[in-house]
């Protein structure tokens, strides 16, 4: 894969050896022949996809193409109907233990933030570590504050989500996922519900995260982010993966007609 600093924006990236890690072969997330039906409607058709350690994969495509369903299958918010999903060596099965094991190691950020409105920011962030990781309060609080500093809102720790702006809420949601110290992170359209002026603060946070070497799968409509941060771009349409490539290759020289059509509509 080629240099990923082709984004053109002010986002020079250095030091993440996308090539090396992706080629390392230690797959973090792998989907093989995954199908998903909603009633009679086939939402995903024969999905094959690997995400390597420390790789950032951005999934784009028109609405209804199955992007969200795809990443929701990875942590079993949707149950896939056939095929295999393996996350960090654990195969997703109906066994609740395998599901819990994968969820523990896979953070997720939602379009609508989904913060818990009856808990303070700090309680939101410490809930998982305390209940699932079984850390004591002191350790959970310490890690939570560290994560809140990382998303640059430690001063909001004692507020309730309702008192924060959308961008701040989404950054808290990122901190909440990070506090579990997951091995990979899933982002389901994290900026789609935000006012334009708040999108940047969330994207910046995600970019920092990518630079730190987090394995990330990001469903988004932010093409600038895809160009600047992605190691690979996956284009989906009608429940199928149409094209995969590096951002440069993908945005400058798409191969498939469907991809060209999509890019012509949005760029």
């Amino acid at each position: 894969m080629t240099d990923v600093t082709t984004g053109g924006d002010d986002t020079a990236r250095d030091g993440v050896p996308a090539d090396a890690t992706a080629a390392k072969g230690d797959k973090m997330i792998s989907l093989e022949h995954v199908d998903k039906f909603f009633g009679g409607f086939q939402a995903l058709t024969d999905i094959n996809m690997n995400v390597g350690l420390q790789e950032v994969v951005v999934v784009i495509g028109p609405s209804g193409s199955g992007k969200s369903t795809l990443i929701r299958c990875v942590n079993r918010l949707e149950k896939h109907d056939s095929g295999r999903i393996v996350v960090d060596g654990v195969e997703m099965s109906d066994d609740l233990r395998s599901i819990q094991e994968i969820r523990k190691e896979t953070g997720m950020v939602f379009q609508q933030f989904n913060l818990f409105p009856h808990m303070t920011v700090l309680e939101n962030v410490t809930l998982g570590p305390r209940q699932v990781r079984r850390w004591n309060k002191a350790k959970a609080d310490e890690v939570a504050m560290k994560m809140l500093e990382r998303v640059r809102i430690p001063e909001q720790a004692d507020k309730y989500p309702g008192q924060l702006s959308g961008g701040q809420q989404q950054r808290v949601a990122i901190a909440r996922a990070l506090a579990m110290q997951p091995k990979s992170m899933l982002f389901d359209e994290p900026t789609s519900a935000l006012d334009p002026e708040m999108i940047k603060e969330v994207l910046d946070t995600m970019e920092d995260l990518a630079e730190s070497g987090m394995t990330m799968v990001v469903v988004t409509h932010e093409m600038g982010f895809a160009r600047a941060v992605a190691d690979r771009v996956v284009f989906m349409a009608d429940g199928q993966i149409v094209e995969v490539g590096t951002p440069e290759h993908f945005f400058t020289d798409p191969q498939e007609e469907r991809t060209k059509l999509f890019l012509s509509q949005i760029l």
Binding site: Q100, Q112, H118, A177
Partner: protein, 414 residues
């Protein structure tokens, strides 16, 4: 509402021109009346008509209460209204129980986490205004000085509890809810003497409170489980819960009470003794209320967005923890008004146990009409009015307590 223009200025240190305060208008009572009551000819007409109506009603009620009514029947039977046929030897226990409750309320008031000092703490007790009014009415009817002294003693105990609250060890102080629960249980044990179902001897207001409080305490968890069960992923659980709820909701409460009161014997194996009548009445009330609580809880559960469950699952919470840490707190918070409404209904529905021959508040109000001194004197209005006053002051207090709970939990804010 609060915060004059100076407050705004301190909050926003911008160079924007300071808004001049709106011109203060002094409205004389005369002007107010003219503007609000007599602005047009039809407004004037309405004011006159309804003013006359209101005066007439108030006058009628006042004349009845202070002139016509013969409160002797209530005065003589005050103790019956309170405890029914409970042996008079046990009255000290009842007062003891009241004392324990007073102590608990005092402690809780002292422990309540408000910033405004004692004024605000005690101010919160204004919610109990209707009950204070009730006590005043009782005392004004009391023929002897004893109730006065005992009431003063009770108040003194409450004040002492308030004063002692700060000396409680932090371990206890942090668990104000537990203090309340222990206080109520202790109060019940003091009254009942702790042994056996001695509540069977309760009567009057004491029985009403026992049935209402027991009904609330037992039907809430039961209804909660039914409501959760109705949304269970296990079909068997779901079917049982739906069946129960729909069966109970399809039957009038009075038939349930009659069944538990008179028909239960047919369903029990021979040789098994029937439980006390009060127990059976309580069970019927609990079974009935639980079905309604279940539906209220279900409504609350449906109001919690699916994203909340998903977020909890995504960080790895088990289904059980997701329910009681994330979903239930939000669901219950949103249905407080409906729940309290149901419990107010329950409070008033306890009057139906009269038809089983139990002498709760309404039962006493009926029975004393047959006393030799008052038979045929046509004093229904007096006794029913007095019973109504007692029901009203308790229910209205519950309603106000619910409002306070809503404000504290921020219902309506998102």
């Amino acid at each position: 509402m609060s915060g004059g223009p100076t407050d705004v200025a301190t909050l926003e240190p911008t160079s924007a021109p300071e808004p001049s305060p709106p011109p203060a208008r002094r409205v004389t009572p005369r002007e107010w009346v003219r503007e609000n009551l007599f602005s047009t000819w039809y407004n004037s007409l309405l004011t006159v008509v309804f003013g006359a109506l209101i005066v007439w009603v108030i006058f009628g009620v006042a004349r009845f209460v202070f002139v016509t009514a013969q409160w002797e029947i209530v005065r003589v039977n005050l103790t019956n209204f309170m405890v029914g046929r409970l042996s008079r030897d046990l009255l000290p226990r009842v007062w003891g129980g009241v004392g324990v409750l007073a102590l608990t309320i005092g402690l809780l008031t002292g422990l309540s986490p408000v910033s405004g000092g004692w004024r605000e703490r005690v101010g919160n007790l204004r919610r109990a205004g209707p009950l204070v009014f009730l006590v005043v009415v009782f005392l004004s009817l009391a023929g002897t000085a004893t109730p006065w002294f005992l009431t003063l003693g009770t108040v003194a105990v409450a004040v002492a509890g308030y004063g002692c609250a700060r000396f409680l060890p932090a371990v206890i102080a942090r668990r104000a809810g537990m203090v309340g629960v222990v206080g109520v249980i202790a109060s019940y044990l003091v009254v009942s003497g702790g042994a056996g179902p001695s509540y069977a001897a309760f009567g009057g207001l004491l029985l009403t409170l026992f049935l209402a409080l027991g009904g609330i305490v037992l039907s809430f968890p039961f209804g909660l489980l039914l409501g959760l069960g109705r949304r269970s992923t296990f079909p068997a659980v779901r079917v049982v819960c739906v069946g129960y709820i729909e069966l109970i909701r399809g039957v009038p409460l009075i038939t349930l009470l009659f069944m538990s009161g008179f028909a239960l014997g047919f369903f029990l194996p021979p040789g098994m003794s029937r439980p006390e009548l009060v127990t059976r009445a309580l069970v019927a009330l609990v079974l009935f209320t639980a079905a309604y609580v279940a539906e209220i809880v279900r409504g609350g559960l449906q109001g919690v967005p699916a994203g909340q469950t998903e977020a909890a699952q995504a960080i790895g919470l088990s289904p059980l923890r997701t329910t009681y840490l994330i979903v239930l707190p939000q669901a219950l918070r949103n249905v407080i008004p409906a729940l309290v409404g149901q419990f107010i209904s329950l409070f008033k529905d306890t009057s139906l146990v009269t038809f089983l021959g139990l002498l709760e508040l309404l039962g006493v109000a009926q029975v004393i009409l047959e006393q030799p001194d008052f038979r045929g004197a046509g004093l229904q209005t007096e006794t029913l009015m007095f019973a109504s006053l007692i029901y009203w002051s308790w229910c209205y207090s519950m309603s106000r307590a619910s409002q306070r709970l809503e404000t504290r939990l921020g219902v309506g804010e998102r």
